[in-house]
């Protein structure tokens, strides 16, 4: 057992799942209902509580943890990270919130996922791990909130969708702009025909923080003890290379195709996702892609054009139809033609996750489809991944959204899949 600490008491881990099981058992054996089970002013009763674990506790993971902890019906009982400092800091933060020492800390996600008391997990690892961690969680019967982008290559995303479908688990992708009122309003304008017939969608692909793909390798350095940094687990399904701490820096792995889809998937997971949603294209992708002066232009089967727009801060999308258009960004700016589309409307700034997290938690209880389900997130990410392949190959590509293969380009097809390093497996 590689567990660093597992001190969760039986009372602390009394979940919806175990409460309901025990409550049913009281028909045969009396069960004492404790104060913890009944809840408190800022804490839901056990029958309503969702017991959670977190996998990946870097800056994004910590932000997410705080968003989950803000919900009284969440009980965070475990954190997992391959990096010792992050793991300890996350445990300390959760323990501080609850005023105890009960949060368990793990190096290996498989140990966290083996806990039967955990209902759901939040995954905020590097991109390289999103698919595998989600699939392992689904195989263990957990509901999943996973950061975007949900895969590195397209084939991974398809297997993820199949696995979520197999187990019927709730999967929410961390594309929180779907839960932000002004983005939803813009999408609704497009979906309800207020812009006329939709013609062109502009998905901003962001300033290039990573300086493009670099595919660099780094000189070997002495590997630290596993408790400090589990290098083998950090690499996960990606190809092995000797340890160097720089690989794990966000701005390094973000530009490396073994670990990320670069800025196109980083930003496009949001902007392309919103465009596809506006185009009622959550279950498809464009069918044609062409390189165009450092960016990509794509066309959907319904004739709508998607333009990957060169990056200008803040993150934004623009939908243009025959009768009007709408622009919306992260700073709360909205512009429309005609202006009357926005008359009397007021929206907040920013891109908080609170509503998105709440939507996930509600769906865990109701078993309804969340606002950012696997299929939609996969298709949006696929569009970005195809755009990456198109830029790499430097030639126009045709894609069949049904078979999820290119038309007449076997070389491009090969880029849709990568072999996982064992023991990790997709199928």
């Amino acid at each position: 057992m590689n567990q660093i600490q597992h001190r969760a008491s039986s009372e602390a881990v009394l979940s919806r799942r175990s409460f309901c099981r025990r409550a049913a058992a009281t028909l045969a054996v009396p069960y004492v209902i404790t104060g913890t089970a009944l809840g408190a002013a800022n804490r839901a009763p056990a029958s309503e509580r969702i017991v959670m674990g977190t996998i990946g506790t870097g800056p994004r993971g910590m932000d997410n943890i705080n968003n989950f902890l803000a919900n009284p019906d969440v009980q965070m009982v475990a954190v997992c990270d391959v990096r010792g400092q992050r793991r300890k800091a996350a445990k300390a933060a959760v323990d501080k919130y609850y005023g105890n020492q009960d949060c368990a800390a793990y190096i290996d996600l498989r140990e966290l996922l083996a806990r039967s008391d955990i209902d759901a997990v939040m995954i905020a690892t590097g991109d390289n791990w999103h698919t595998m961690a989600s699939i392992l969680a689904a195989r263990a019967g957990k509901d999943i909130y996973c950061e975007k982008p949900m895969s590195v290559v397209l084939g991974e995303g398809r297997v993820l969708c199949q696995t979520m479908q197999r187990y019927g688990v709730i999967f929410q992708c961390g594309t929180q702009r779907r839960s932000i009122a002004r983005f939803r309003f813009a999408v609704e304008l497009a979906q309800t025909g207020k812009l006329g017939q939709l013609k062109t969608l502009y998905a901003e692909k962001s300033p290039d923080w990573f300086g493009g793909f670099h595919e660099k390798t780094l000189p070997p350095e002495p590997e630290p003890p596993r408790e400090v940094f589990d290098w083998n687990l950090w690499l996960g399904p990606a190809a092995w290379r000797p340890y160097n701490p720089k690989y794990a820096e966000r701005n390094f792995w973000g530009g490396h195709r073994d670990f990320s889809g670069g800025m196109i998937t980083e930003w496009g997971s949001h902007t392309v996702d919103l465009c596809q949603w506006a185009n009622n294209a959550d279950d498809t992708t464009p069918v044609e892609f062409e390189p165009a002066q450092g960016t990509i232009i794509a066309h959907y089967a319904n004739g709508v054009k998607l333009v990957f727009e060169e990056g200008v801060w803040p993150l934004h999308v623009r939908f243009v139809g025959t009768e009007g258009e709408i622009y919306v960004d992260d700073d709360g700016n909205m512009r429309s033609k005609p202006e009357s589309l926005l008359a009397g409307r007021k929206f907040d700034k920013g891109y908080p996750q609170a509503n998105h997290v709440r939507n996930f938690l509600d769906c865990v209880k109701s078993r309804q489809r969340p606002i950012a389900p696997a299929e939609g997130a996969h298709r949006a990410n696929s569009t970005c991944q195809i755009a990456n392949i198109c830029m790499l190959l430097g030639r126009p590509l045709r894609f069949d959204p049904q078979t999820e293969k290119f038309v007449g380009d076997p070389e491009a097809d090969r880029m849709l899949w990568r072999a996982y390093r064992p023991p990790w497996r997709l199928v």
Binding site: R166, N244, R425
Partner: protein, 261 residues
């Protein structure tokens, strides 16, 4: 030879426009291969770029692809570093054909290079790639054998079934679990029979892997139009002691019966 290739690449560049237009009609490809010979972890990758650009262009130029493959195989067989072989395998995964399979397959039992060999073979659609993986089952052990099983699952290689089934009883639980997963992915009636038998025999630690493989097998059978066989699997798994497996089986039964979930 490589200069002649560059002429071909240059022609392609002229025809295709952006993307490979940076290729120059000089000796940069020769230099790229020289750089590859000397490549090691942490070395500058810029000298390798002409090779990567040629590989990208080779998707639309069969002669170029063949010439690049030949040169890459030569290098793969030579005494270059692990980092260089890693880079070679990445390029072969894009331009490799049945011709490169023997050289790549040699690496499957290699502790350091087995994964990169699979990286190539999983991407090559030629039946020779599946055959090489099948044959590697008898030459690999431990985590390398797990990887080979995973690749056979990815390729849904039904011909490997007789070699995989006995591995369900392997004393290494990782191998037994990988064998089950491969059978689930292959998803034939014969695979289903082996997995049915495995459900009862699997040790406690492998119950979940066994059930997951069985569910995958049911999905494959259903996709192949074998509804009755899929339904039989789902019915059996509704008796599972694992709650979420039982629920998944119930969902599966509903899908067989065409009920919306």
């Amino acid at each position: 030879m490589l200069r002649q290739l560059l002429v071909a690449v240059g022609l392609m560049a002229a025809l295709c426009g952006a993307g490979i237009s940076t290729l120059a009609a000089d000796d940069s490809l020769d230099k790229a291969f020289e750089a590859l010979k000397a490549y090691d972890w942490g070395k500058e990758r810029a000298p390798l770029r002409p090779l990567e650009e040629a590989v990208a262009a080779a998707g639309k130029d069969a002669a170029l692809a063949k010439a690049l493959e030949k040169k890459l195989v030569e290098l793969l067989k030579s005494d270059v570093s692990q980092a260089a072989k890693d880079q070679i395998c990445r390029q072969l995964s894009l331009v490799g054909s049945a011709d490169c399979v023997p050289a790549v397959a040699e690496l499957l039992p290699d502790e350091k290079l087995s994964h990169m060999a699979r990286y190539v073979l999983e991407r090559i659609p030629a039946p020779e790639a599946s055959k090489a993986l099948r044959e590697a089952l008898g030459k690999t052990k431990g985590v390398q054998k797990v990887g080979v099983l995973n690749s056979l699952g990815v390729k849904r290689d039904a011909e490997s079934l007789p070699a995989i089934v006995p591995l369900l009883a392997d004393s290494d639980p990782q191998i037994a679990a990988a064998a089950a997963a491969a059978l689930g992915a292959i998803g034939t009636s014969e695979a289903a029979k082996a997995l049915a038998d495995f459900q009862g025999k699997a040790p406690e630690a492998l119950k979940l892997a066994a059930a997951d493989a069985y569910l995958a097998c049911a999905e494959a059978l259903l996709a192949a139009g074998k509804k009755a066989e899929a339904l039989a699997i789902y019915k059996e798994l509704t008796k599972s002691e694992i709650r979420h497996v039982k629920l998944a089986a119930t969902r599966g039964m509903m899908s067989v019966m065409g009920k919306k979930q």
